[in-house]
Symmetry: C2
Subunit: 303 residues, 2 copies
């Protein structure tokens, strides 16, 4: 327990990873969500992705959304980009933090972007260069890091080696994405351990999904390894394209509630965040899976 | 991590604690559920409670249910009883394992059974005697052990002292019930630690609810303390009377899935259990909160 950090940074990925897996939300609803998240104490928000609208129609209005956001100087807004074209669009639009993805599973990478993981890593090296030339930072997300919906097991050594390559190529941070919620505490310990052997000085973030109910246990396991950066989505917005009705990212308010209980600071006002989770629920028009949203924190007593 | 047991016992409390917090299910549906659970490898099932039908109409047919269950010799079926009258009914019906509850929160105990916790403990001592005289075992469940929906904090010393008293009075095991899901890993460590100081040789079980998303993290924290007995309800059947729509007990299949990942044996066949969770979902006619039920285990690949 001694390695548990005193403070962690949560990045809310609801506006991007969450809404990407929901029925389309109107542009002004997305802007309201991002702006509301900006009032909770969160310091990082994944705002949009610059992907082709044919691939992900939910993100077709990325430029309009970003143009309308009330950008707060204390918040780092990021954009996901699929390639160099997307990177230029994001950087031209004023993003100073971008993310790019490679899937550690050959099948998943091939099916998603029709190239090998190694070809993706080559392209990513260019994206990193372009970002740095523009004075921006670039995070490399290694997807299916804890398992692949097509292949099942993805060897930790392979995942770690791809991440280490991206780190050598200049990635400002590495994020292991548990794309379909296949992680568990022993897998978290093994992968983080392998990666630290290869790139001990890299900045590491973890991106858990709660598809199989292991999200909070994974969060605790990672904290105990000293990991300080986590993704989550407000309300538990989102889903899993491979399992209809399944949960998506861990819910930000569940993470904040648990971290508060653990005495780990997040800087986030849970009550305010719950109001934003309620807004998210109204925007997508369905009951979101977040349990803290339904029950409130333990301080909300019965009358 | 060294104290993690190689094997744990899961008790499915779906037929009682789960169904008690659902709209009424027909008698034969309850019997089907209990019988189906008996085919999963589970060795303990909380079958019914003998409470007054005015208090909990969902359990009014306890005698009929129990009379129709296909009782398997390898399974320990238990009944919850509120008092001496209920204990006699359960024992006369052939139960050899009964449970009785005291709430550690004075307000919760008073509102639920209109006496002080100390008065409840006096009555429980009699129930234990009666059970033992009949050759049955008696577990004492200490409810609101991690917090109370009315009072909020319930001091761990108080909870532990009530449990220690029940242990001295002959309880065969103590179960700490997280009645409304207010537990978290540090609270689990503190309460288990306090209780072990007072009753190091007692048999301890933990009963978590997932009302605030901390259930699986609590399970891991307790495993790391060497706790070997846990309650869970198939499908995550149940709810929370203080928070409409909130989750109830941790889902048995989520516990089995996580324990499988941790390398802790349960003896439960997860695939078969998922079939029973699906049955439970059909019996109550609503989508149950279990995420493993929705997404399947990580071995269920996309095509």
């Amino acid at each position: 327990m001694s390695d548990v950090p005193a403070r962690v940074v949560l990045r809310d990925v609801g506006p991007r990873d969450g809404l990407q897996n929901e029925p389309p939300v109107a542009t002004d609803g997305k802007v309201r969500l991002i702006d509301a998240l900006g009032t909770t104490g969160l310091t990082e928000i994944e705002a949009v992705s610059y992907v082709h609208p044919r691939a992900i129609p939910q993100m077709a209005d990325a430029a309009e959304v970003w143009g309308a956001v009330d950008r707060r100087p204390e918040i780092r807004y990021s954009a996901l980009v699929p390639n160099l074209v997307g990177a230029h669009r994001a950087l031209d639009a004023g993003f100073t933090d971008i993310e790019v993805v490679v899937s550690a599973s050959a099948t998943h990478n091939l099916r998603n972007i029709n190239r090998s993981s190694e070809e993706s890593l080559d392209a990513i090296a260019e994206v990193i260069e372009v970002a740095h030339a523009a004075g921006a930072s670039c995070q490399v997300i290694v997807a299916t890091a804890f398992g692949c919906p097509y292949e099942g097991e993805v060897p930790e050594d392979l995942v770690a080696s791809y991440a280490a390559r991206a780190h050598r190529d200049g990635a400002d941070s590495i994020c292991f994405g548990d794309t379909t919620g296949m992680g568990s505490p022993p897998r978290v310990r093994r992968l983080v351990g392998r990666f630290r052997e290869q790139a001990p000085e890299a900045t590491l973030a973890l991106h858990f999904h709660d598809t199989r109910g292991t999200g909070m246990a994974n969060l605790v396991a990672a904290l105990e390894l000293g990991v300080e950066r986590f993704d989550a989505s407000v309300g538990g917005l989102g889903g899993c394209p491979y399992a209809p009705g399944a949960s998506g990212n861990i819910a930000t308010e569940e993470a904040v509630y648990l971290l508060d209980e653990l005495g780990v600071e997040t800087g986030v006002d849970l009550d305010r965040l719950l109001e934003v989770a309620d807004l998210a629920q109204r925007l997508v028009g369905r009951e979101l899976p977040s349990r803290v949203l339904k029950a409130g924190p333990r301080t909300r007593l019965a009358v």
